[in-house]
């Protein structure tokens, strides 16, 4: 033990292991969402509550379809990364691993479902 340097003992044992990358990925997706959200709210907000034919017509247009697909993709990825932050804070061991996997399964499951629906409408 006494032959190990402080540096050697510290490497790979940071609080988050891959925390820097995780933080950067959250930052990039956050900026992406900051650009997308105003258009997304406008499109979804003005279409919610309308008859089905109008909903179909809206999301068959390129701009609403692309903005909604992008917001779902970037948003659910951002959610996966964000959920991992509190899971890392509050859970340990196997419970933490299971929760991290569940967050990934849920996020990408919801994302795929949304994209499938959009594809059915737009194509």
């Amino acid at each position: 033990m006494r032959y190990l340097t402080d540096y050697k003992r510290a490497v790979g044992r940071g609080a988050g292991r891959t925390g820097t990358h995780h933080h950067w990925a959250l930052t990039v997706s956050a900026v992406g969402l900051a650009l997308l959200i105003p258009s997304f709210l406008w499109i979804v907000g003005s279409t919610l509550g309308k008859p089905q034919a109008e909903v179909m017509a809206t999301f068959a247009r390129p701009f609403p379809a692309i903005v909604t697909a992008l917001t779902l993709a970037v948003g659910m990825h951002h959610f996966r990364l964000g959920a991992a932050v509190w899971i890392d804070d509050y859970l340990r061991g196997t419970a933490r691993k299971a929760a991290l996997i569940a967050a990934a399964v849920f996020s990408y499951g919801a994302l795929a479902t949304g994209l499938f629906a959009l594809a059915r409408i737009a194509l």
Binding site: M1, R2, Y3, L4, T5, D6, R9, T27, A30, V31, L33, A34, I37, L41, W42, V44, G45, S46, L48, G49, Q52, V55, M56, F59, T68, L72, G75, M76, F79, G82, A83, V85, W86, A110, T113, G114, F116, A117, L118, R120, I121
Partner: protein, 128 residues
Amino acid sequence: MADAKRGVVRPLSPHLQIYRWHIPMLTSILTRITGNGLVAGALLVIAWLLAAAAGPETFAAVDGFVRSWFGILVLVGSLWAVWYHYLAGLRHLYYDAGKGLDLPTAERLGIACLVGSVVLTVLTLLII
């Protein structure tokens, strides 16, 4: 020298329940709650899109929920959560640049997030 000192008694941070509530603490906790809570709004929008793609009967069921008081509560709540998380996220980017970290500025930014999110929610509801 290289051995870490073990058994050193370090000062412990006071427990959450002992802390006096203050703006940076409240806004930080709200950021996490809104971020995770937005799952409800996201799932509702995805269900609504899927129902529109599926057919008239499914759409009628989901659309009925969207128009119900509970559906509207979830959607308006999500709208506020989006705007709150949006402003808090921008504040986070500003903090990441190493700015606004002194207490008076942090408190002012926190109040701006709280007030701004309500203003943006009302504005959005008026516009759409």
